[in-house]
């Protein structure tokens, strides 16, 4: 946890610096009163102070029970999370190519079959039922036009 806090602290400091720099480039108000850079600049300052506190507290605090535990899970769980997120990225990327029906079916099948490692009959069942119920809710009941793929459905 200590290392994680240290890294976030530094990342936040860099972010705060960027925000302040960017805010100073913004044009001043055309009338009197604060301009558009005013709030972001001060928010950046506050963020820098808070991140400074965070870094300082990591430095000075003694190792606590929580610090000795890595907040992130082991390789197996990490693989599952990467699977879900990677699959989601692919899903979003492909939804206008494959269309809602094919894309959703593939993603759910991937989640159940590959990430959760269930038997293929269950995988197929869940994928079909999920895709069908989402289609019914969004397209039929709510009348939203879901993306169609290159095949026309």
């Amino acid at each position: 946890m200590k290392r994680a806090d240290m890294i976030t602290g530094i990342v936040l400091l860099v972010l705060a610096g960027y925000v302040m720099w960017e805010s100073m480039q913004m044009p001043p108000s055309a009338t009197f009163g604060p301009g558009s850079g005013f709030l972001p600049f001060w928010v950046g300052v506050i963020l820098a102070v808070l991140a400074g506190f965070l870094v300082a507290s990591v430095w000075t605090r003694k190792m606590t029970q929580k610090d000795s535990v890595n907040p992130f899970p082991g390789a197996k769980a990490l693989l599952a999370i990467t699977g879900v997120l990677g699959g989601l990225a692919a899903y979003i990327f492909l939804i206008e190519v494959l269309g809602f029906l094919v894309d959703t079916f593939l993603y759910v099948a991937f989640l159940v079959g590959m990430v959760e490692r269930q038997r293929w009959s269950l995988t197929l069942g869940v994928a079909i039922v999920t895709t069908a119920s989402l289609y019914i809710v969004f397209q039929v009941l709510l009348g939203i036009s879901l993306p169609k793929g290159a095949f026309g459905f």
Partner: protein, 502 residues
């Protein structure tokens, strides 16, 4: 007799067929979400925003509200039967509820949980009916300095009261303010932090962010620690659910104290149902003639927190509707939903949209009755639902989220926003950053900025304007004090070990 007029108007709105149906659907989904561990009311409300997008504002918010207080009912079931709290607000119910179930009295525990939820929930709606209008009248006179002080206070209270580390709560809130700055500045037309992306000119989409931070990240956290399948063999007849006369006698005091305390904790911005249930449980233990019996299965240990969390849910609606300041993550998401529907919560809401406000309040009376009907005879059914494995739920939650986010604007970019904030939310949860302040800051951000800049324009740049006007001064002071509280706590913690060592 204005109030009767208003309530009659409310029931006319709420009893239309459509609103009744969606009130029912809302409390049904809420009960489900409450029963299922691993999906909370905030996630439920966030997912519902896109689905209810096409409805009228009243119907949409009635549904979301139903989910919110419905989850308070449902959360107790698993707490009592399985020692697994369905929501954080029912953690305290496990202490005595589960012990009651183990000692052969699951029926009265469940029945008392449902009935005390009903009584306290109805009490809270009644209080809402009485308190909200005068509060709104009072707030009508607010100018920009008061609004800034109020929103500022809401932000600081939420950040400093929620979570273990106030510093991390503050960072989460400040990051939310930054996200709120993205897009075209409404006052000058300058684009800020848009990275030359056309889609960011409008700002970061609230729905994508809320669904990502709550729903997607919740799924990710649940994946890494797979939940065990837990069952109970308890057989529950309908009549076995009713607490006996002695139970009522024991719970009576706990119930009304829990209702009142819960309501006022709920009204406070920043403290929600969870804190309310913790505090009433502690209070009852202190007041009890036999405090040592708490934790061994006393019925007042179920009645107090279950009453309090429902009452707090009603109380949270007071500050949300009259001041536009949400008290918790769930109500912050609801505030965002209201704004999407073009309703700005705040004092004017009562005079500009009385049909909405009173319709919503009336629907909460109806919803509480529906919930008690749903929960008492059907408890066995809800327990069986626990057998639905997470394998089935997980893909459903994640796909319904992402498709819902797409559906509001038919825009793939919003899906990427959700993806990004799902990842951010996961990292935040892992490192103890509460996500609620971030969402709250995104919703309140534009209001904070506008009122701040207007105030400073009025005062020619002097900050004194926030201290010379009486209402603004009080609110600003409360905000500053709540900011100092964690600092003092940090200093105290550092001081204490030094003292014992020296």
């Amino acid at each position: 007799m204005d109030i009767f007029h208003n309530i009659i108007l409310g029931f006319q709105v709420a009893s239309s067929l459509e609103n009744l149906l969606f009130c029912f659907i809302g409390v049904l989904i809420g009960t489900l979400i409450g029963v299922l561990p691993g999906i909370g009311p905030t996630t439920g409300v966030a997912i519902l925003i896109p689905i209810t997008f096409g409805m009228s504002a009243t119907t949409a918010i009635i549904t979301m509200c139903g989910v919110y207080y419905g989850a308070m009912y449902g959360g107790s079931t698993t707490s009592i039967l399985l020692n697994v709290p369905g929501e954080s607000s029912s953690v305290m119910t496990t202490l005595d509820g589960y012990q009651m179930a183990r000692h052969g009295r699951p029926g009265p525990a469940l029945g008392m949980a449902a009935l005390s939820s009903f009584i306290a929930g109805t009490f809270a709606v009644l209080m809402l009916t009485l308190i909200a209008p005068p509060l709104a009248d009072f707030a009508v006179s607010f100018g920009p300095p008061e609004y800034f002080a109020l929103t500022f206070m809401g932000l600081t209270l939420v950040t400093s009261l929620g979570g273990d580390s106030p510093l991390k709560g503050l960072i989460s809130g400040v990051l939310g303010l930054l996200v709120a700055c993205v897009g075209i500045d409404a006052q000058s037309g300058v684009g800020r932090f848009t990275f030359d992306q056309m889609y960011l000119l409008d700002g970061v989409g609230f729905i994508g962010m809320a669904v990502g931070l709550f729903a997607a990240s919740e799924v990710l956290v649940n994946i890494e620690s797979p939940m065990q399948q837990v069952f109970t063999e308890a057989k529950l007849g309908f009549l076995a659910l009713f607490p006996n006369r002695q139970d009522w006698k024991d719970s009576f005091g706990a119930l009304w104290r829990g209702s009142i305390l819960g309501f006022f904790i709920g009204v406070l911005p920043g403290a929600g149902a969870t804190i309310a249930s913790f505090m009433t449980y502690a209070l009852e233990k202190k007041l009890s003639k036999h405090p040592e019996k708490f934790g061994t299965g006393v019925i007042e240990g179920v009645a107090a927190p279950e009453g309090a969390n429902n009452s707090a849910a009603g109380g949270a609606m007071v500050s949300l509707l009259t001041l536009g300041i949400p008290g918790s993550g769930t109500t912050a998401v609801m505030l965002g939903a209201l704004m999407i529907h073009g309703l700005r919560p705040g004092p004017m809401l009562f005079s500009t949209h009385p049909d909405f406000v009173w319709g919503l309040i009336a629907s909460m009376y109806i919803g509480n009755i529906l919930l008690v009907i749903l929960n008492m005879p059907l408890i066995g059914l809800w327990v069986r639902l626990l057998k639905v494995p997470y394998t089935v739920l997980m893909p459903l939650i994640i796909t319904i989220s992402v498709v819902g986010v797409y559906a509001t604007d038919n825009n793939v970019f919003d899906m990427w926003v959700m993806f990004f904030f799902g990842l951010v939310g996961y990292l935040m949860r892992k490192m103890d950053y509460p996500p609620a302040p971030m969402v709250l800051a995104l919703v309140l951000g534009p209001m904070v900025e506008m009122s701040l800049r207007q105030s400073l324009t009025i005062s020619h740049g002097s900050l004194a304007i926030f201290f010379t006007r009486p209402i603004a001064a009080v609110l600003t002071l409360v905000a500053l004090l709540s900011l100092c509280a964690p600092l003092l706590r940090m200093m105290w913690i550092r001081y204490k070990p030094g003292k014992t060592a020296g």
